[in-house]
């Protein structure tokens, strides 16, 4: 349940951030509503080269509030309206932190990069568009910090009603009324909190340092240390792990589950990291994990001349109060979230390689194993109960131009439905069918009714939005290239006959080609451990007394995963297995031996030493006898079977593994 909630929040964050560009229009007051799907500011100024903002000026400042869909939400001067003396020319002071508290009342909490030129506030103070000011010293006082140490990120915690009410109180109290622990008292009284980060590091002789990479709570505790925010493979945190990566922007749910605070934090750092997982200081990262939105994707809709502009302030509609309304794809290759694919959740036209990468924080090695998908590929997501008359999962080859809605190919699926059969059977039998048309379109009401049983009298819970026959088991149902790289998205038609599409896309790499083992005698060899490593040919007899042999092999696959060896024979017959030896394993227990990489044995097209086998592993069965050595080579593809009703993951099936064997005789 927790995993599902997390996935939902992630989708809301990313899909919300990546909504379709809208049409710019002029407004008498700033169009904060443009940022309902998300908001951010950049590190530097730039010129937008498509469309134009509401004020007609394509110059975008690092103090402006931007939406990821390429529309401007507020100029820096708009945010500072209440602070500028009447008639004074507004200065652009930058935008260092932001939290949009309410769209209707245009209530935004934020901080600037520079001190107010009129002396009303500093760059470390927390400002509100209603004119309220919380001095930096009031925020940091619980941590024993008595000076302005800057403000780099902000996120309010609490219900919208209480936050609105609190913002009114801030205005009422004024900047000079926060003496003693007034702020902390008021936060407790309202049942809310303010999460934030600072610009500098506060070292004390008696306590752990407060880093600018830590997420702090104004009520006086550390929400997340820099070391907690970043994956274990990143040397984040001082003094133990080695580097403070800073915390430049943050956004989270307003009412976090105490048991899952960090996974619901999205943030950016001050500096980049080149290790694993690599990130830039403009990427949006997920707490304890890696990149969920690259800076390039975040700014893409603005069409700047450079593909990196940094990320200084961030707000996103993360939380259970903002469920999706439109249909969208959530999982591919079974129940694997689209966000776990490289390029699995990107804006239209965005890049990616379409390979599944498991949890970045836990999967060995540092660079997580990458997996394509093959055979039947289940694709599922959200389809609302109404407002959709038909839908389909569309696709195009990677690199092809983005087609008009309705013009691409659609995935075809033939479903076998359980139907209710009355007396004398009184049971659900798989006698019904539900099929897409030749273009992949599925009737939405039939689909939903079949799924919950309204249509058939029996629930068909195995239904997915589509199951893609990528290996063309049924002619015309698969893609042109069974090993191709494709881009998928959902299209639907509303009740008025208008076609829509997802504002995001999903890269998917297919792989229906199995590993290959070179033909005998190159594919698998048993060699003597001594005597120059002479090959023991098939049916050959090794010298008596030889108990350790070398296993050599040659195999290849574009997305290779691992190999295993199985030794069989002796009297009584026995067997012993070696492996599996994954491509990322350092060695196989025989130091320096394995000689495989991501595409099989290395060097390519060369028979190499894989590992040693020991006849004594067969125990007492090792006698003067004949033996068989089996080699199994597996690739990384995720593969499902599909019987028309259910798709099952059988990636590990031996049917998808390459096999070779060699016979030989040996004696103790």
């Amino acid at each position: 349940m927790y995993r599902l909630l997390n996935l939902g929040l992630l989708f809301v964050l990313v899909a919300g951030l990546l909504t379709l560009p809208g049409v710019a229009y002029a407004q008498t007051s700033y169009p904060l509503d443009n940022c309902r799907g998300g908001a951010f500011s950049t590190e530097e100024d730039f010129m937008m080269s498509k469309s134009e903002p509401y004020d007609g000026n394509p110059y975008i400042s690092d103090g402006d509030l931007l939406s990821p869909n390429g529309t401007l939400c507020a100029r820096n001067a708009d945010l500072l309206q209440k602070f500028n003396p009447a008639g004074a020319a507004a200065a652009d002071l930058g935008l260092d932190a932001v939290d949009i508290l309410d769209f209707t009342d245009r209530l935004v909490a934020f901080s600037t990069e520079l001190d107010d030129i009129f002396g009303k506030f500093t760059a470390g103070d927390l400002l509100f568009t209603n004119g309220g000011i919380i001095p930096n010293t009031a925020l940091v006082a619980p941590f024993g910090i008595t000076y302005d140490i800057g403000l780099d990120a902000v996120q309010f915690i609490g219900t919208p009603e209480k936050l609105m009410s609190f913002a009114g109180l801030v205005l009422q109290i004024g900047p000079d009324g926060w003496g003693q622990d007034r702020l902390q008292q008021e936060l407790k009284r309202y049942g809310i909190d303010i999460w934030f980060s600072i610009e500098g590091t506060h070292w004390t002789a008696v306590a752990a340092p407060i880093l600018d990479g830590d997420l702090l709570a104004a009520t006086g505790y550390v929400v997340a240390h820099n070391s907690n925010l970043l994956p274990n493979s990143v040397p984040a945190g001082l003094p133990q792990r080695g580097v403070d990566f800073g915390l430049d922007a943050v956004t989270s749910v307003r009412t976090p589950d105490p048991d899952s605070v960090i996974p619901n934090i999205y943030y950016s750092t001050e500096i980049l990291f080149r290790g694993e997982p690599a990130f830039n200081d403009g990427d949006i990262l997920k707490g304890g994990n890696g990149v969920v939105v690259t800076n390039e994707d975040l700014i893409r809709a603005w069409a700047p001349k450079a593909d990196f502009l940094g990320l200084d302030a961030l707000w996103a509609p993360v939380g259970p109060g903002t469920p999706p309304e439109d249909p969208h794809i959530q999982t591919m290759c079974g129940d694997r979230p689209v966000a776990d694919f490289d390029g699995g959740l990107i804006p239209i036209g965005g890049g990616g390689v379409g390979l599944y990468k498991a949890n970045l924080s836990t999967s060995p090695p540092g660079d997580p194993p990458r997996r394509p998908c093959g055979e039947y590929v289940p694709i599922d997501g959200f389809l609302p109960d109404s407002a959709v008359t038909r839908f389909r999962v569309s696709y195009r080859p990677n690199g092809a131009a983005v087609p008009a809605i309705g013009a691409a190919s659609g995935i075809r699926t033939n479903w076998q439905l359980y139907e209710w059969h009355g007396w004398p059977i009184n049971a659900c039998l798989p006698t019904g069918s539900l099929v897409t048309d030749a273009n992949g379109w599925m009737d939405a009401s039939d689909y939903l009714d079949a799924k919950d049983g309204t249509l058939t009298g029996c629930a068909n819970s195995g239904l997915r939005l589509a199951v893609w026959d990528t290996n063309n088991h049924q002619a015309g149902f698969g893609p042109a290239n069974k090993d191709g790289h494709y881009v998928l998205w959902l299209e639907w038609e509303d009740g008025g006959g208008t076609l829509h599409r997802e504002p995001v896309e999903h890269h998917l790499q297919l792989d229906n080609t199995l590993p290959t083992i070179a033909a005998y005698p190159d594919g698998l060899q048993v060699r003597l451990s001594g005597g120059g490593g002479a090959i023991v040919p098939a049916c050959g007899e090794a010298p008596a007394g030889s108990s350790t042999f070398q296993a050599w092999g040659q195999f290849a696959d574009l997305y290779y995963w691992n190999f295993s060896l199985i030794l069989r024979g002796g009297a009584p017959p026995a067997s012993f297995g070696y492996g599996p030896h994954n491509y990322w394993d350092l060695n196989d227990g025989t130091a320096g031996v394995k000689n495989t990489d991501t595409t099989g044995t290395t060097p390519d097209l060369t028979t190499v030493r894989l590992r040693d086998i020991h006849m004594t592993d067969l125990g007492a069965s090792f006698t003067d006898c004949c033996y068989v050595l089996d080699l199994w080579v597996r690739d990384a593809a995720i593969r499902h079977t599909f019987n028309g009703r259910v798709a099952n993951d059988n990636s590990g099936s031996s049917a998808y593994q390459a096999n070779a064997f060699v016979t030989f005789a040996a004696a103790p």
Partner: protein
């Protein structure tokens, strides 16, 4: 032969003196640590743990407010830079120019304001105690308010720079603010200039817009180098024409007004052709001079990128140590080399 035996020891003494004494320099106060920063000095964007040489004070934590050397040493802790103000907190280090190692004269700016409000993060400070308000630096640009200070570099003769700093130390912050025109007058009187960059953009400056990626002149109120001129043509740098302001996070050059040898770092990275990071030291108009990881490598940090914030590199020709040699040889040995 006897003549030579008499004069030889004296010659050696004179040669030693010639080697030790620079042109018009008087050896004064020294600090062993700052000497390590005579050729290159910088600060990082973030704090980190050094695994390289142990700092003199034994603390392996390096702050983004410390002045670091190219060989993995800590030349001055942040509190040492701020010793005049007797501060116990770290305010960061945003811009730096090492003006005189022997006299421990370093010009710099901080990331944070002074808790006692004696200076702001945009003011230009020196280790001698001068505080030149940010607004005064921008006087000739007719810019109101503090716009931050991201990079600083003095140009002019050594004498002129020292004389100016002696004067500046005697002028209080309030005096500068009362008479902001005094700065350009003092700079010109001493034949020097202060080149600098700011944190924000001012589109309504006196004559032209100034961006945080431009290198500005305090003495003349002009743009010394625009962001577009700093970076190669292949990089879309410069507003409004080329599309992006890459910022100017650190700048250093020779003390002459020669710009070709200038080195700098940007605020944001670039991934196109001639890619660079905001930690690389770049050559004016000509790509990377020092890769970021090479800069930090002597510290053996756990990550190979730390960001480059303040930057100083001695780019003037090395002092001619043997310049007295011809005179000595001719005077005492009658030899004309």
């Amino acid at each position: 032969m006897r003549k030579l035996s008499i004069w030889l020891p004296l010659l050696l003494i004179l040669l030693s003196i010639a080697f030790l004494i620079d042109n018009n320099q008087v050896v004064g106060q020294t600090t062993g640590s700052l000497v390590a920063c005579k050729d290159i000095a910088y600060s990082t964007e973030e704090d980190f743990l050094t695994q390289g040489p142990v700092p003199v004070d034994g603390n392996p934590i390096i702050s983004d407010g410390d002045l670091l050397s190219g060989s993995g040493g800590v030349c001055m802790r942040n509190r040492e830079l701020l010793r005049v103000w007797d501060l116990q907190v770290d305010l960061g280090l945003d811009a730096v120019d090492v003006l005189d190692v022997e006299r421990v004269l370093v010009a710099f700016s901080t990331e944070l304001n002074d808790p006692s409000k004696r200076f702001s993060a945009g003011d230009l400070l020196t280790t001698w105690g001068a505080v030149i308000p940010n607004q005064v630096l921008l006087t000739l640009f007719q810019v109101q308010g503090d716009r931050g200070l991201d990079a600083v570099h003095f140009v002019g003769t050594r004498d002129g720079i020292l004389a100016f700093n002696q004067t500046a130390t005697a002028i209080s912050r309030d005096e500068w603010l009362r008479d902001p025109g005094k700065l350009s007058g003092e700079l010109r009187r001493n034949g020097i200039d202060i080149w600098f960059s700011i944190e924000g953009t001012v589109l309504r400056a006196a004559t032209v817009s100034i961006y945080d990626g431009d290198l500005l002149s305090a003495a003349h109120g002009s743009i010394v180098l625009s962001n577009a001129a700093l970076l190669p043509n292949a990089v879309p740098a410069g507003l409004p024409n080329r599309g992006v302001d890459f910022g100017l996070d650190g700048f250093t050059a020779s003390r002459s007004t020669e710009l070709r040898d200038g080195r700098f770092s940007t605020e944001i990275l670039y991934r196109g052709e001639l890619a660079f990071t905001d930690g690389d030291v770049l050559k004016v108009g000509d790509g990377i001079a020092i890769h970021d990881e090479d800069l930090y490598k002597p510290f053996e940090p756990k990550a190979d990128f730390l960001g480059t914030d303040a930057l100083y590199i001695r780019l003037d020709a090395q002092p001619q140590r043997d310049k007295f040699l011809p005179m000595i040889l001719k005077r005492f040995l009658g030899v004309t080399p």
